[in-house]
């Protein structure tokens, strides 16, 4: 039995009498600024995050442009260092970490769960304002303080007062601290919501996999982010008051900082990828019109990734002076964390097999994810092996690896999810043709940008270097060319999505035929989501749904015949 309640109308009333939805019910700036509606907060997050992505992307293009030539091309070395610091800090803290949970999760989670809102709506709004505050603080202070430490802020360089202005890293770290609390409160909210606000019949194993992934992500957010908080606090005290914890000149230990930093920052990458994997589970199933294969395995693998991700932070420190004993231990554990990820990939592929695949734009992103995450994940194994990591650490191999997983993985899934839920959020459909074209540009551009970087890295090209030997020039130029193509793709996405906002076809309640609860309410949803609590069924059973051309979307089959659908 699907989760679709046949008693509720699934088609859209005529445009002349569009009922009030969360966008139109109250109007004006103030109603948005003090809203506690999770949908509006999700939209505000989405706008802020995409703005941050634009900013981070501009710095990426600047970095790549500088690397067109072996020596100085457009900026000095110091400025170049600031560019990649900004690019990294913005992309990690302002885009990838919050993106899917805060922008998509905030909007979708309560509706998919069958609830009226998150457990703590005002805390949700606070999370958003902390995000904005932290973002402004971090970006402004990196620019004003000429921070060039890289987004990892390693001491002793980060606490050296001679090269930075306006207190150097202190205001940036304050921004990061504030952002950390935004993340913690979001995770806290999600956990309590999933625990306490499930409707009758929604047991743990009736939850859609996107919610399982958000749950696992929230666990990481609550457990790991406080350690980031204490880390930046310690670094601030070290810089401001010269406490002597990390500074070897005062008897401190700089490697201790790296332990602290990576204890958060490794689980942070699972904060980035788990929700992405949750999106992909939804997309693969819906666009194959087939029940997800291995639901329990995928659900448990999300929790496994969350837990195992805490055991491997030392693999960022193999060549930093960490002891050999602990280094070997971390290498072993790093291999274990790849297993649950592989479980998911195999289950997705098994879902595709025998399915009725439709290559709509969200599905293209999902398939692209599997390919690129596969490459990114597999190259992580090279880095997890000690003998090869000694050679590859701090080279472009690492850069390519994490861009494949973070960008080719998490960002692609964000775009896929954005295109999937766009009709639900905005009530409009975008142009499928432009969507597919933009995807092709992004996909090709991405691979042309980053695949050569694997080659460069294994040949010894170091990362964060402003100039390089001429032998790497052609690969760098190819990479930069790819980045421009990718950039054009993103501009196209922005273009047709904005166009869809104003001129897109009105969306039906269920354009893709999803069986999860959010497709049961109108597009866009009313403010209270559901008038009466919906009844939960199997979120991947599509047998009751059929496409109705009159509506332009899927409706529950009203005939009594047993559906031979798919």
């Amino acid at each position: 039995m699907t989760t679709i309640n046949p008693a509720l109308p699934a088609d859209q009333p005529p445009a002349a009498s569009v009922p009030l939805n969360y966008l139109t019910e109250r109007r004006g700036w103030l109603s948005w600024l003090v809203t506690i509606d999770h949908k509006r907060i999700g939209v505000m997050y989405l706008v802020s995050i995409l703005t941050a992505f634009l900013l981070g992307g501009i710095f990426a293009i600047l970095v790549r442009t500088e690397l067109l030539g072996p020596s100085k091309t457009i900026v000095t070395a110091d400025t170049y260092n600031q560019f990649f610091t900004l690019h990294g800090a913005i992309m990690i803290f302002l885009v990838i970490i919050p993106s899917i949970p805060a922008a998509l999760g905030n909007f979708v989670l309560p509706i998919m769960l069958g609830a009226k809102d998150l457990a703590f709506p005002r805390l949700n709004l606070l999370s958003y304002y902390l995000y904005v505050l932290g973002a402004v603080l971090a970006v402004v202070s990196i620019v004003m303080g000429s921070v060039d430490t890289g987004w990892t802020f390693y001491p002793p360089y980060a606490i050296d007062p001679t090269h930075a202005r306006f207190g150097g890293v202190i205001p940036v770290l304050l921004g990061v601290f504030v952002l950390g609390f935004s993340s913690i409160f979001t995770g806290l909210n999600f956990i309590v919501t999933i625990h306490k606000l499930r409707p009758p019949g929604m047991g743990w194993f009736r939850l859609p996999l996107f919610l399982w992934s958000l749950y696992a992500t929230s666990i990481i957010q609550v457990l790991a982010t406080p350690v980031l908080g204490v880390t930046v606090l310690l670094l601030i005290l070290e810089r401001a008051l010269r406490f002597g914890i990390f500074h070897p000149g005062l008897g401190g230990d700089p490697l201790l900082y790296q332990h602290f930093f990576w204890f958060y920052s490794h689980p942070a990458v699972y904060i980035m990828i788990l929700p992405a994997m949750g999106v992909i589970s939804e997309l693969i199933s819906v666009f194959s019109r087939k029940h997800i294969f291995g639901y329990h395995f995928i659900a448990f693998s999300s929790i496994a990734i969350a837990v195992f991700g805490f055991f491997v932070w030392g693999h960022h420190m193999f060549v930093s002076g960490q002891s050999p004993l602990v280094t070997v231990l971390f290498s072993l554990l790093t291999y274990s964390v790849s297993i649950p990820s592989a479980v998911k990939v195999f289950n997705w592929l098994a879902t595709l097999r025998g399915g009725s695949i439709s290559l709509k734009t969200p599905m293209l992103y999902a398939l692209g994810f599997i390919f690129m995450f596969g490459i990114g994940g597999l190259t992580g194994l090279f880095l997890g092996a000690l003998a090869t990591d000694v050679h590859l650490h701090d080279t472009y191999f690492v850069v390519a690896h994490f861009h494949y997983v973070m960008m080719g993985g998490a960002l692609i899934a964000l775009l896929g999810g954005l295109h999937y839920w766009w009709p639900k959020i905005t009530g409009r459909m975008y142009s499928e043709t432009w969507g597919r074209l933009a995807f092709v540009l992004i996909f090709v551009g991405f691979n042309v940008t980053f695949f050569p970087q694997f080659i460069m890295g294994s040949h010894g090209m170091p990362r964060r270097y402003f100039n390089y030997p001429p032998e790497f020039a052609s690969l760098h130029q190819l990479s930069t060319l790819g980045s421009y193509v990718m950039g054009i793709g993103f501009v196209l996405v922005a273009g047709y999505l904005l166009h869809a906002l104003f001129r897109g076809r009105i969306a039906p309640a269920n354009p893709w035929g999803g069986a999860t609860l959010e497709w049961q309410c109108a597009s866009p949803p009313p403010t209270e989501n559901f008038a009466t609590p919906p009844v939960a069924g199997d979120p991947y059973d599509f047998s009751d749904l059929e496409y109705d051309p009159a509506v332009g979307g899927y409706v529950v089959r009203t005939s009594g015949a047993a559906g031979a659908n798919t």
Binding site: K116, I191, V192, H195, P226, L237, G251, G252, F260, E528
Partner: protein, 295 residues
């Protein structure tokens, strides 16, 4: 973890229950709040966990520093602070109980007593910090002790008395024996754990072989004593900050209690503030023996 909701109507909540529109019953809402607060406490535990990690690393690797420097702390003041915080935990737990039973005046009184205990704690902390400041017992560059650490039951015989400032630097005579635990001896260069041999000449930036030795202030028989005070002020300072925040929250909740905001159906803020205050007490329960009672 299924919702405890009955099929109660979601439209009309009983007045005065502060029941939000997305919850079905007050019990469900209260349990959600308790869960949320415990998750927040978990983040605080992890935050202090990081600080305890700093403590553990510095103490395990330089035990002589901690053994020597902790004698500068007053065990009796630390013990009084422990007792004060434990009593404050009791008073606030009793205060929550009164709020649960609708006894607002008693609840407010107990919150006031908790506030008093908290102020006593901060007062004693101020006395301790002031003493450290006067004696030059601070972190990093600021470590300039006026006196040696006071003798105690476990002091080695060569420890100086409280009013004898050290003038002789151990570096004046590199062969002088160190006061407390023996200095870490260089490991055998042929042993597997020694990763490199010390350079024959001091690297540039450190004093040359014939440069005059800088005058060291205070007793430097144990190296890097300033790291103890870095750890001490880090731990107790952040804890004191949390106490201060807690006191502010207690004042807020006490005022609301006096204003009649709470009832047996809604006393969530009191319960939440109490949980936070208990955490502050919990952290001090560990800080006290770890910092004050090292031997």
């Amino acid at each position: 973890m299924s919702s405890s909701a009955s099929s109660a109507s979601t439209t009309a909540h009983p007045p005065g229950t502060h029941l939000a529109h997305h919850f079905q019953t007050p019990a469900q809402q209260f349990e959600a709040a308790v869960q949320g607060m415990w998750l927040f406490l978990a983040t605080e535990i992890l935050l202090f966990g990081g600080l305890f990690c700093i403590y553990a690393v510095f103490r395990a690797n330089n035990p002589e520093v901690f053994e020597y420097a902790h004698r500068y702390l007053s065990k009796s003041l630390g013990a009084i602070n422990t007792v004060v915080l434990l009593c404050s935990s009791f008073t606030i737990a009793a205060g929550v109980r009164c709020a649960q039973l609708g006894r607002s005046r008693q609840s407010a009184t107990l919150l006031g007593l908790t506030l008093l205990c908290g102020l006593v704690f901060l007062g004693i902390k101020y006395v301790e910090y002031q003493h450290k400041w006067k004696e030059g017992l601070l972190w990093g560059h600021h470590y300039r002790p006026e006196h040696e650490a006071s003798t105690s039951l476990h002091a080695p015989p060569e420890a100086g008395t409280a009013d004898t400032p050290t003038t002789a630097s151990p570096l004046a005579d590199p062969d002088a024996p160190l006061a407390t635990a023996p200095a870490p001896t260089p490991t055998d260069p042929d042993a597997p754990s020694a990763t490199f041999a010390p350079p024959a000449l001091a690297p540039p930036g450190l004093r040359g072989a014939t440069a005059p030795l800088p005058e060291l202030t205070g007793a430097q028989r144990v190296h890097n004593v300033q790291t103890f005070f870095g750890v001490y002020f880090l731990l107790t300072g952040l804890h004191a900050l949390h106490v201060l925040v807690g006191l502010g929250l207690i004042v807020w909740v006490a005022l609301r209690t006096l204003g009649g905001a709470f009832s047996p159906l809604y006393f969530t803020p009191v319960a939440m503030v109490a949980l936070y205050w208990h955490l502050v007490d919990l952290i001090w329960i560990y800080l006290f023996p770890l910092l004050y009672l090292i031997h």
